[in-house]
């Protein structure tokens, strides 16, 4: 992603346009419905107005690629409970404003609870060291890209007053779940570049057997269009493959050191995705031997599997996250739901489809 003037070669206007023309020539009007599962992909598409270059028959739909959006209200309530008990609770900025059931963590902070925004798990560890006489919990929300950093922190001898309230999910099981939806009319997926940098292409490859066209792509305009071209070629040839348009960063088997760290720190669990429901084996929780670092065990909180997946009242984020509607089709979008007054997490999170749509399109009051 880059917002400024002279970019790098992956922002070449000539290559981007040439790729768009090539996609058109390859498909010759054949419709193509592709889903991406990464808020950062949606942001890049919006930032560069890439959809204006697609042939009309190509649709790129946003999926559940927003870890903050799919964090259940019950997990947020647990973070609140710990904050009310006087602990320091540290989490990412956009997590603070997500409405749980009645209120958000930011609301609790303005009531005096000690909630801190951090940019990384390392900051949270640092905070714990700086406050040795307090207990600190890091509310760890993320997909695999960030989960490997959580694992690293856990394995690097964190201070005794530090623990994690985990809400970590994996992308491949979510894509598998999407495949089972009756009205799934998707032809394939544009795979998330940085998730795949960590876990590789391998965990997604089995989707080819179900006829899904796949390519992983990076986040620059040329990279996104290249990924779509590879998918277009698979569609033309009716030959599903797991292509790699992000070879400078993604290896088929992924980053073995990062995978190893996650295996050492976490074990699989069922996980509830807000707006979607329970997806088996889609979560990471801390391994039993790391229980002193597991805030749920340390402070006697219930596990968060198979819990309420509902979004706040009036919020249709669930349908946005599964690609059934676009943000602009939600009746609340731009009306009762805007970035300063959000109804649900998709309008709060930097990776939320609704917030991204609002950032790059606003709301046309004439419509």
């Amino acid at each position: 992603m880059s917002l400024g003037a002279q970019g790098n070669a992956f922002q070449s206007p000539e290559l981007t346009k040439a790729l768009a023309e090539r996609i058109d020539a390859t498909l010759q009007g054949r419709p193509l419905r592709i889903m991406h599962v990464c808020g950062t992909h949606e942001h890049a598409v919006g930032n560069y107005a890439l959809r204006s270059l697609f042939p009309p028959s190509v649709k790129l739909i946003g999926g559940p690629g927003c870890p903050v959006c799919v964090c259940p209200a019950a997990d947020i309530e647990q973070a609140m409970q710990l904050a009310r008990q006087g602990l320091i609770v540290a989490t990412f900025g956009d997590m603070m404003r997500v409405p749980a059931n009645q209120q958000s963590l930011a609301d609790l902070r303005s009531e005096g609870a000690d909630l801190r925004i951090v940019g990384s798990v390392a900051d949270a560890v640092h905070l714990a060291r700086a406050n040795p006489d307090r207990e600190l919990v890091f509310f760890a929300v993320g997909f695999e890209t960030t989960a490997c950093t959580f694992a690293a922190a856990v394995l690097a001898d964190p201070p005794k007053n530090f623990s994690m309230l985990t809400s970590i999910r994996q992308t491949p099981p979510a894509v598998d779940a999407l495949q089972t939806l009756d009205d799934n009319k998707l032809d394939g997926y544009l795979l998330p570049g940085h998730v795949c940098a960590v876990i590789g292409l391998k965990p997604f490859a089995h989707l080819n057997e179900q006829g899904a066209f796949l390519s992983v792509a990076g986040f620059e305009p040329v990279e996104i269009m290249h990924g779509l071209l590879l998918i277009a070629e698979q569609a033309r040839d009716e030959a599903p493959r797991a292509d790699n348009a992000y070879r400078r960063l993604v290896r088929y088997d992924g980053n073995t050191a990062a995978i190893r760290a996650m295996q050492q720190a976490f074990k699989l669990a069922d996980s509830t995705w807000r707006g979607i429901g329970s997806i088996p084996g889609s979560g990471y929780v801390l391994r039993d031997e790391l229980e002193t670092l597991d805030a749920r065990k340390r402070y006697d909180l219930p596990p968060s599997e198979n819990i309420d997946a509902s979004m706040p009242k009036g919020c249709a984020c669930g349908e946005v996250l599964t690609g059934q509607i676009a943000p602009q089709q939600c009746p609340s979008y731009g009306r009762s739901c805007t970035p300063p007054h959000p109804l649900g997490p998709c309008m709060v999170s930097f990776e939320g489809s609704c917030r991204i749509a609002y950032t790059f399109e606003g709301f046309d009051r004439e419509n």
């Binding site: 992603m1 002279q6 970019g7 790098n8 070669a9 992956f10 070449s12 000539e14 290559l15 040439a18 790729l19 090539r22 990464c38 808020g39 950062t40 990412f92 940019g119 990384s120 798990v121 390392a122 900051d123 993320g142 997909f143 890209t145 960030t146 490997c148 950093t149 694992a151 690293a152 394995l155 690097a156 998330p192 570049g193 940085h194 998730v195 940098a197 960590v198 986040f219 620059e220 040329v222 290249h226 348009a245 070879r247 400078r248 960063l249 993604v250 980053n255 073995t256 050191a257 990062a258 760290a261 930097f350 990776e351």
Partner: protein, 81 residues
């Protein structure tokens, strides 16, 4: 958040490194990548290097695309790491 940028490693001390991108200096962890050396480019996300950027792969991809699409490489175009 999948925000990440390529940065160049300029020095390594144990599990940490100093990295630079366009003049911006950052102190990062290299705990979850194997065998990185000074001069390598890494993708930095939330204070951690999460993978090494393969510069040759970048070059090859760009060359391949330029040939495929008959697009000339502009003079003085800044290469991506």
């Amino acid at each position: 958040m999948c925000l990440g940028i390529p940065m160049k490693i300029v020095s390594i001390t144990g599990d940490r490194a100093e990295a630079v991108a366009d003049g911006m200096h950052s102190d990062i962890s290299i705990q979850v990548i194997d065998e990185v050396k000074v001069g390598d480019f890494v993708l930095v996300h939330a204070g951690y290097a999460i993978e090494i950027v393969q510069a040759e792969e970048a070059e090859e991809t760009l060359d391949m695309l330029r040939v495929l699409l008959n697009v000339k490489k502009p003079d003085g175009e800044q290469e991506a790491p």
